[in-house]
Each structure stands twice: as C-alpha cells, then as structure tokens.
Symmetry: C2
Subunit: 414 residues, 2 copies
C-alpha cells in the first residue's frame, strides 16, 4: 500500500504558511505502520487540483489531503473529489444539527457545510465546521481533512488511524522509539550512534537537534525487535542522566509530571524569558495543581517593587548578574508559597550586549525553599527567539536533573 499526503492551498505555495501538517501526519501514520511515500502541495486552482489528485490516485492506493474544505470562494477540494469519485451532494441533517448545536443556527456556512458528497463516509469535526470525508472505490481511497492543524490532528488520531487499522489489518507496525535528551549535543552522540549502527545494522537512526534539546529516533521492522532494543538499551546506559523522556519531546511535560508526583509547588521569576517559561507550563492542562505563577519582572523597577531586589544590587552589579538573580529567587520565596523556585535574567538581544556580558548571557538561580540555591551562568546561541526558547529548555532540563537525580545544574554541559 502506497500513501501520499496532499496539502491544498495557495497560501502554502506562496510560502505564507509552512506545511507542518504533512510532517505531523507522517509521524503519526508511521507510528502505526503506515509509511508515507510522497508529500505534495497543490494550489486552489480547480484544474491543477483535479489533475494533481488524479495523478496521486494513479500512483498510490491511499491519498490524504488537508485544506480547502471551507465554504469560502477559494475552497474546491470537496467538489473536485466528488467529481473524481462520481458522487453527487445531499443535505445531511445530522451534520446540520451538530453544527447548530455547536455554533448556533446563525452560522452562515451551515447549509454549505452540511451539504456533503453522498458517496463519502463522514468524519466528525469536533472543533471546526467542516466535516472530513472518506471516498473509496476500486482499491483507491481518498481522505479529505481540514487544513486547520487542531481540527486535522483530532480527526486523524481519533477517526482516520483507527479506520485505517481496521481496514488494513495486515499492515505491520514498525517498531519506533523516540529518545529525548536535554543538555546533550549532537557531536557527542553522533560517534556513539555510528558505533551502535555497526552492531545493530537493522536499526534505522535519525538524530534531530532542537534548542538545547536533542531527539534520537530509532526505527526497525518487527523481526528486528532484539536489535532495536539492544540499540536503545546501549544508548540509554550511555546517556542515562540526559534522557528525559521516551514519550513527549516537551521538556515541560516532564517538569509537570515531576512536580505533580513530588507534590511540590513551583513559582518563577522571569526576566529575559519574558513569560515563556510560564506559558509553556500552563499550556499543559492541570498545571494549576502545582504551578502557582510567575513574576515576569521585565523592568528593573518591577524587580525592585515586586521581588524586593535592591537598587544597590541593580546599580552596582547590573540586572544580568549572580546577585540580582539570587535576590529575585529570594523574593519568590518571600512573596509566594512555592517550595521550589526558578529565577532567570539574561540578554536576549539583538542589542544590549557588552564585552563582559555578550548577547546570549543568562544568569539563573533555582532550588528549594530554605536551601542554598544553585546559581550559574550560560551562553545561548541563535536569534532572540532561539535564545529565549533554549534558555527555557536549558532551565527545565536543569530543574528536572536536579530534582529527579540530584545532579547539580551548573556548569551546563556545553
């Protein structure tokens, strides 16, 4: 079975939108044994769309599209698919009543969205208005999904993948292992991966550096299970204290789970990360069970007024200094009921650096209430956004290694 993914929309071909849907879908399909042979992006042009989908269906037995399912003037995917599969349209009461219930009966696109191809199976859209569609004929299948990532993701995971597993029970899941590391660099891992690849040749290896994080992915056929397990165990043993997860690549998920498990309460004092650390933690449902909040003290005056950092320290040592960040952490413990705190200052750039404190310089303090905090400095690379993200990842990594393994976070391994 050959699978292709087709993104539809001028915005993709104009470069206004990066087609991240294709990667996301490929990853999740591959996990269930469905490997994708081609990605395509096609424009909102009736003729090019029709010929593009025809080509894809002639090459492959399953084509999954994203986008072009809306009811505006530039959405043609349903029409083209219905034409290719010789289907007419009808008004579907069930879709209409679901839309009514979720969006009220004033929804302008209701009639349009509830008018669906008669020969397609419907996929429920729990978030947006456009239902997904499955066309099937003579060993060829065309699945249409919305282009909005959240809508597509929910539909693929909850409906499409279970449907495919049922329809193609012979497809064998490949074994796939994701190993997520913090505080570890590509140049350290790469030689080890090459050695292990010689010992376990049936294992395919990918190495994907992130911002202060690193993911190694291993893939193998089921028959090579012993090899992939051997590979994984060897890597685990070599870099045990850096391996923060084999599920989520989000280091904040590990912090979340750790604080819930240890029943600790966390509060932050953020300057250079500007709220990013808090935003990453609160993006996860249930954060309120351990996360008290963050004092985003961007100005020096707020560092004084809200955290009690002394004017003298700020004047003599500067905002980006060991002394300031220590006083910020003390302020967190004085003003909140946290029993663990992280404070961070830095120069995110592009300007504001000096010879002594270049752009990218970060000072951070973290620790338990009543204990001497760990305090240290490190340098981040890249542009402003990359520096803010890698500071966040670095500090979450440091916090995880400290609490779960008692490893002193400074100096960083870099």
């Amino acid at each position: 079975m050959q699978i292709e993914i087709v993104a539809i929309g001028d915005e993709v071909l104009r470069g206004a939108v990066v087609n991240s849907n294709a990667a996301w879908m490929s990853r999740h399909l591959l996990e269930r044994g469905f490997s994708v042979a081609r990605h395509t992006a096609l424009p909102d042009d009736l003729c090019l769309l029709e010929s593009g989908l025809k080509e894809a269906l002639s090459r492959s037995s399953l084509v999954i599209t994203t986008g072009g399912l809306g009811s505006t003037c530039d959405d043609h995917t349903r029409q083209v698919a219905a034409k290719l599969f010789g289907s007419d349209f009808h008004f579907n009461e069930q879709v209409a009543s679901d839309l009514c219930q979720r969006f009220g009966d004033g929804l302008q696109s209701l009639k349009d969205q509830a008018t669906v191809p008669s020969q397609a199976d419907l996929l429920l859209n729990r978030i947006g208005t456009a239902p997904g569609l499955i066309f099937s004929k003579e060993e060829k299948m065309l699945i249409l999904l919305p282009g909005v990532p959240q809508e597509m993701e929910q539909m693929l995971l909850e409906q499409v993948i279970p449907y495919l597993i049922q329809r193609f029970p012979h497809v064998r899941q490949k074994i796939s292992i994701q190993m997520h590391f913090c505080h570890l660099y590509e140049s350290l891992v790469d030689p080890i991966l090459r050695e292990l690849k010689e010992i376990y040749p049936a294992v395919e290896v990918g190495i994907y550096p992130g911002l202060a994080l690193l993911t190694v992915s291993l893939h193998a056929e089921e028959k090579a299970q012993a090899q992939i397990e051997g590979f994984c165990a060897a890597l685990k043993q070599r870099f045990a204290t850096y391996l923060f997860s084999m599920k989520s690549g989000k280091i904040e998920q590990v912090i979340h789970d750790l604080f819930l498990q240890k029943k600790k309460r966390l509060a932050l004092a953020e300057s250079c990360t500007g709220g990013m650390m808090a935003a990453r933690l609160t993006a996860l449902p249930g954060a309120s069970a351990y996360f008290l909040g963050s004092l985003v003290v961007y100005s020096n005056q707020m560092k004084q007024d809200l955290l009690g950092v002394s004017e003298k320290t700020l004047g003599e040592k500067g905002a980006v200094s060991r002394e300031t960040v220590v006083e910020m952490l003390e302020g967190v413990f004085e003003r909140t009921e946290a029993n663990f705190g992280i404070a961070v200052v830095g120069i995110a750039g592009p300007s504001g650096g000096s010879k002594e404190k270049p752009v990218g310089t970060v000072w951070a303090a973290l620790g338990e209430r009543g204990q001497k905090p760990d305090v240290g400095t490190f340098l981040t690379r890249g542009d402003r956004q990359m520096r803010i993200s890698s500071t966040t990842n670095h500090l979450f990594g440091a916090c995880w290694r400290l609490i779960s393994q008692g490893i002193a976070p400074f100096p960083f391994f870099q």
Copy 2:
C-alpha cells in the same frame, strides 16, 4: 513558466523534519515574480526519486530541489539528475581547492564533493561542502540546492534568483497585498470579497482565518494595478476599524509600535493566558522600552498575595468573574508604574467548566490608570492552546482598537 520545488529526504517523509525550505523559497521567489505551482517531497530512493523528478520536469519548465547533495550513502540527487540530463562526472580542481581552503585537506568528503556533473553550472556553497548545480536542456531547467536551510537560503538569494532574473527578464513582479484584521470573522468578510471579486476580476483573493485574527491576501499582475488598488481601498473602507496592519500579521507588533509611539507603559495581570501575552510581547526586540512586566497569578493565593484581590471576592464571585478581574487590574496599578493595564482570567479547559461558566469563558479588564476600566466577558473556542492564543489575540486587538481609535472593546464582535 511553471515552477516546482522538490524536497528530497526520508526525514521529511517520516515527519522528523518539517519542510520549511519550500515555504521560504516560494516566498522569496514570488517576491521577484516567480510563482511556484507545486511542492513535492520525495524519499531517498533511487527509483522513486528518478520517476518523481522526471514527472516534475515533464510538467514544469523549472524544478528546484533541496537535499540529497551530501556524500553519505543515502544521497542520490546528483546521480539521478546527471542521468536525466545525460551528464558524466569530472573532478573539479576549483571546487576542491575551495573546500581545502575552508575545511582543510583532511575533509573526508572532499574527493566526492569535488567530483561534479560535467554539464552542470556550479553554485558556490559558502557555508557547507556541497556545491549547488544547474542543469539546463531544451527549455527545461533543474536546479539542485542543499537541504540545510542556511546553505540553501544563501545560495537562492545570492546566486539562483539573480541567475533567474537574468535568464527570464520578461518575468514581471506580481503585486501582492496582505491585510490583517482583528475581531472580524470569515463569514462576515467572505460575502464582501465575493462582491469585490466581481468588480475586480483580475485580483486573486485568499482568506486565512487565524485565532481571533483574519488575513486577506490580494495578488494581481502589474497591469491590473488599478484593480488591486480599488479592491484594497474598498475593503479598507468597509472594515477600517478592524484592519490592524498591512505589514505584519502579528497583532503584538501593533501593540508594541502603539505603546512606543504613545509613550505609554504597559503591565499585565494574567491568569488563564499563563504568561502567553507577556511572552508574545517580549518576543519582539525593544519591548523593554514600554513593557514593564506581567504578574502571572495562576493560583488564587497569588491573586491575593501579589495583586491584593480579596478573599471575599474569590470566595463569593469566583476567580473567573468581573469582580476578580477588576481587582486584579487595580492591583496592577497599585503595584507597578504602568499607565495602561490589562487583566485577564478564564477557563482554558479542558476541565474546570460549569453550566454558568463553560470552558472557554474569559473575563478581562483593560484601561488607563485613573480611568474607569472597560470590563467584559467573551467565549473562546477550540482546544486549550487555541483558547489561550485567541484570548491573547482578542485582548491585543481590543487594546489596539481602544487606544488608537477609542472604540469600546466590549462586547466583542463575535
């Protein structure tokens, strides 16, 4: 002239890497008048690669590939391209000496990288080791670029685009206009776009809904300049108070510019947005000139301790209430030197909702120091992340409309 972009690499089809190169290239090519008709991603498989490139060259006159130019076992792009254009290989002294100079004569891939197809023009790689290649025959052109974004970007901007402009002097730059709106919904704009499209048929229209934001993009040939200007002016007139920018689609950029221009100082009190508002503002360089900080008071205790919200209010009215958010804003003005403040509470979900206050309920207060604040409630849709982002966009939109145009932000137009 039809143009296609082809990304080559299993990592793209496995979803380990998002193909952001295609969007980047499309955007830069379009700016110079070269519009791209299709994106494709192909695997590192000799047969599939050959057939995929053959197909692309049969459809289009210019195909640009990225990736597969390295010297490892899975890199086949040069071989396949040389076969398609009937070219042999030769050792190129110039490439070899350039590589020697930049990487030393110990470079393992030197011989391989300096052995290039005889019938291709070379593109200098100033960053990495693989030169780019231009094949050309009978009105068909195939350009091979490296997959590493920095190497590709430098080569495209400095060498490929100048080459294309010289080779195709008749290609005219298209006129392209982006209009970014807040507090406006697709269903309200779409009928107007359809009307305008009848009056100005030479204008291509795209409509891209974001989270509480909406972008309309207009494109036209240079000869249709009057039409695209008419279209744009009509749309501007109809939705003037919602049009926040014709440059950046980031509403926080407008807040940034507005506060700098008005010389106001902003501070926030965030509960349900969890630091996202502060993080979005501080992502922009120079935010420290107007942004003092944010009190991310996620727990009720912090709402009391740091902002002085009364226990009585929290007990009787609840954290998600008009009274709480008003007291939070008062706390911001008492504890900071801001002259403008925004406070927000809400239920981001997925749990925590009730019949009276369903998941998605938001209460917000905003205004000048010393003035009666604007206070209101609205409901956000989608999942947790979407609710947090749309709350942020909604409130930045409200803040911009209030300060720049004196428009009361509540109730929202929704």
